[in-house]
Symmetry: C2
């Protein structure tokens, strides 16, 4: 099987993995399917002899693994993130099966960095981590026993990716989606602005930001669009600040906060 | 996902597994996809605490596992066997990908016992074991690193089975293929007869039997057909024995062997 280039753009990100053996087994699973880039967010034990033992020949994947202190560090430069979830539906994100999702992952990886994000052995990904993704991926499983081992999940997803690659044809698109950190910058700016203009006095901030993430992850924002949106936010803040300043000037008796 | 009945007819057979952790991980992989029947041919260590640890909740699959002393014992009553192979082609058997093969496995399992046969960690299945199967299954993998962990292979195959089951429709067929032991009985009879009639003086017995297994595994012999073939073999032997007897009577000077 001849692997196309997209695989060089795909990183497997494991968040807060407890058992080093699982890291090694995941590395082996990756390599059998032609994936090479492993990122580890705060692994409990790494490097570790158990990881090497379970890698069984995929030592190069472990040796080149990038250990990160945060999810934002692990997603640096990434433009599209597919996150594993045990849920069939999710409030903040669209959820697909690996078979549905992997062609799109390949498509994205043909032009920019892509992440496949896996959570912990015990509890998967946090809501905050899920919120960083553009797509949720659920491996269909036995409803009475759905807990796939993390390396087994990596194997299934990498296998689907490999099968999809065998029949892959690049679709051209005019959209140049922005990187992870640019999109996160927008969300941070948006949240700050909504606080400043007093929007969150009547809304649950966490829930609302989740809904907004969902909206924008669907649209796949471009750099220029992020500039426009942030420009709007800046103006809104300034307008609001001007209003506040004028109000304070006209009501000097009101206590500042 | 609603599992149809065929899963009750499917057994996963692991031959001569070295590491008990792999047995446990395979049990977990099976259960996540709704498979329950595990057969172990001469496992090196079983039961074993490592197997239970790696099963992580699939203890029932381990507890009900059937430990066998031979492959024929493990395939007792089985009518269709799909055997894992690292080869893309095989002299003695047709080889398909899991995606191609699993719909047929389901189809077979809808009416009779079926086995998914996995070899050892180090060397897979022997030629003799492959010869017991009707179909070879090769998981497409990185040509530079194709060694999937055995539990990872079980996971991929069970996953493909589970996905195939979601869109499964039963095809009716008029063929009632014979069981493993009936077919093996024919091969043993055939080999014995070919020896007796002196056929193997000019042929490599092992290679020829492999070719004959390939031929008959393609046709899917029915019970009645096996009766006919074995009847022919019996007559051939008797005919040969008569010829030999007559020859010896007419040439009393020839030494018996």
């Amino acid at each position: 099987m001849n692997k196309p280039n997209p695989f060089d753009n795909i990183r497997v990100v494991l968040s807060h993995t407890s058992h080093p053996g699982n890291i090694g087994a995941a590395a082996r699973a990756m390599k059998t399917m032609g994936l090479r880039h492993l990122y580890l967010i705060n692994p409990k034990h790494f490097p570790d002899p158990q990881a090497s033992a379970m890698a069984a020949g995929a030592d190069d994947v472990l040796q080149n693994a990038v250990v990160c202190g945060s999810i934002d560090e692990a997603l640096q430069g990434v433009v599209f993130t597919a996150a594993m979830t045990a849920r069939l539906r999710d409030i903040s994100i669209e959820v697909q099966t690996p078979r549905e999702a992997m062609p799109q992952v390949l498509q994205e990886a043909a032009s920019h960095p892509v992440a496949l994000l896996f959570g912990t052995e015990m509890s998967g990904l946090t809501n905050e981590e899920m919120g960083k993704a553009q797509l949720g991926v659920n491996i269909p499983s036995n409803p009475d026993f759905s807990s796939l081992n993390i390396a087994a999940s990596v194997q299934v997803v990498a296998y689907e990716l490999s099968v999809a690659a065998a029949s892959f044809t690049l679709e051209t698109t005019d959209i140049q989606p922005a990187s992870h950190e640019r999109v996160e910058g927008l969300y941070a700016h948006l949240e700050k602005t909504l606080f400043e203009i007093g929007f969150f006095t009547t809304q649950n901030p966490a829930r609302l930001m989740q809904r907004l993430r969902r909206l924008y992850s669907r649209t796949r924002l471009e750099d220029e669009e992020i500039n426009i949106l942030r420009g709007m936010l800046t103006v809104a803040t300034e307008y609001n600040a001007r209003l506040k300043r004028r109000y304070m000037e006209e009501h000097p008796d009101v206590q500042k906060h």
